[in-house]
């Protein structure tokens, strides 16, 4: 009984823990923040992605999808490759995995929330995304 209770509690907690889809991509040719901006412009167009993280030194891009997102691994992989190509850079390898939803996405570590404009007009959406 002493062992069963903690085990059941752990299992219950594990079942409750929500997971998100994460894509980790190697980037080629990016040497400055501006290069990541070129990619981020195209990440905005993938509604499933909620958080993005740029690691300049590691040449790495990490994307976390919204909890409950219906995007498939292949679709996410293709969307990430497309964002890098459209940004003007050669896509690196993309790894997609399910991870436990992080409690926070610290800005210090390079996380940025993808802006989702809510304005009805195109001009309003453009201002929300850019300023």
């Amino acid at each position: 009984m002493r062992r069963l209770l903690p085990t059941l509690l752990l299992l219950a907690g594990g079942l409750r823990a929500e997971t998100v889809t994460r894509a980790i991509a190697g980037v080629n040719g990016i040497t400055s923040p501006r290069g990541f901006f070129n990619i981020s412009v195209n990440i905005y167009r993938v509604p499933a992605v909620e958080w993005m993280k740029f690691d300049l030194e590691a040449n790495r891009l990490t994307l976390d999808c919204k909890p409950g997102s219906t995007i498939t691994e292949d679709e996410l992989r293709e969307a990430v490759r497309s964002a890098m190509t459209l940004g003007g850079f050669k896509p690196g390898p993309v790894k997609v995995e399910r991870v436990e939803q992080p409690s926070e996405h610290p800005a210090k570590l390079g996380w940025r929330k993808v802006k989702r404009p809510t304005a009805k007009s195109g001009v309003g959406r453009w201002f929300q995304i850019n300023f």
Binding site: G26, V27, N28, G29, I30, T31, S32, P33, R34, G35, F36, F37, N38, I39, S40, V41, N42, Y44, R45, V46, P47, A48, K53, F54, D55, L56, E57, A58, N59, S69, T70, I71, E75, L76, A79, T85, L86, G87, G88, F89, K90, G92, K108, L109, G110, R112, G122, V123, W126, I129, N130
Partner: protein
């Protein structure tokens, strides 16, 4: 007597500042990386001071738009004013300069982790939106007081860039062909060679994670070889020549913007004719902002 002096003085400064009255930024924009659906806008301020009390203040704006990942469109909008401030008369002229429109195609590129190399030819034209008929005391003025060439000027070149995390270098060679206009001021054709070297000195140690703001030291060299100008269809002997300038600037950059400022030093001014006005010192400041394109393509909104 004054008119003669003014004419001599005006002729002496002909060909001065290849980028002053009619062209765009001192920090050349031909190597700017622009991704698809991205807009870059760069505001420049360039005060330049010279002999003969010629003061020139230019405020060019450069805009780049990525039509595709390889094909980008650029516009160079120039405006400003210049004045001669010696003697009892002080001619002053300003307004919009010629507008430079060109397209750039990345013909060859190598992308590897932490390094990129590009070769991109470009072609376009300068549209005659400036004024080439400014007169003072009834005399047609020359290059430094005109804001335009008066003609549709084809423009072509090639830009090259090699960039690493810490250091980067860019260069370009461009040529602006200026047809001779039969009336008013006519700018001489211009060959321009630019190079740029940049060292990212801050952060001293790049963090393993994240995208830190950075500070760079930038050195830029500009070489101009100008043909002689024409005044009312007649070649101006005191115009054209070769100029080599070196610029040093400090720049700060982040994900969305870059800001910088520095000095421009003329190292060589081999000018045709006699008594030409020469540049003493210039400054440059710029602010650059990156934008997503105004309208998204709806077809890409698939996954939720």
């Amino acid at each position: 007597m004054y008119n003669l002096k003014a004419l001599i003085r005006a002729a002496a400064i002909a060909g001065f500042f290849p980028a002053a009255a009619a062209a765009s930024a001192v920090t050349f924009a031909t190597s700017l990386p622009v991704g698809q659906d991205q807009v870059i806008i760069r505001f420049n301020m360039q005060p330049m001071f010279s002999t003969h009390q010629l003061n020139n203040f230019q405020f060019p704006v450069s805009v780049g738009y990525g039509l595709t990942s390889r094909f980008a469109l650029f516009a160079g909008l120039s405006q400003g004013f210049a004045s001669l401030d010696s003697g009892p008369y002080r001619p002053l002229n300003g307004g919009a300069g010629d507008t430079n429109l060109y397209a750039r195609y990345t013909l060859y590129k190598i992308d590897k982790p932490g390094v990129t190399f590009r070769i991109a030819p470009l072609a376009g034209a300068f549209l005659p939106t400036g004024n080439n008929s400014f007169t003072f005391q009834g005399k047609l003025q020359s290059k430094s007081l005109q804001t335009g060439s008066g003609t549709f000027d084809p423009y072509a070149g090639v830009a090259v860039g090699l960039q690493y995390h810490r250091i980067s270098g860019n260069a370009d060679v461009t040529y602006r062909y200026n047809p001779v206009a039969s009336t008013n001021f006519s700018l001489g054709s211009e060959l321009r060679v630019d190079s740029h070297f940049e060292y990212k000195f801050w952060p001293f140690k790049m963090p393993a994670e994240g995208l830190p703001r950075s500070a760079n030291i930038s050195l830029e060299s500009n070489y101009y070889r100008d043909s002689r100008d024409h005044l009312n269809g007649v070649v101006s002997p005191n115009s054209g020549g070769r100029i080599f300038r070196e610029s040093a600037s400090l720049q700060l950059s982040s994900l969305r913007w870059q800001v910088g400022g520095g000095v421009i030093l003329p190292l060589m001014q081999d000018l045709n004719g006699t008594g030409r006005t020469t540049q003493k010192l210039g400054y440059m400041m710029f602010f650059e902002y990156y934008l997503a394109r105004p309208i998204w393509r709806k077809s890409t909104r698939r996954h939720t």
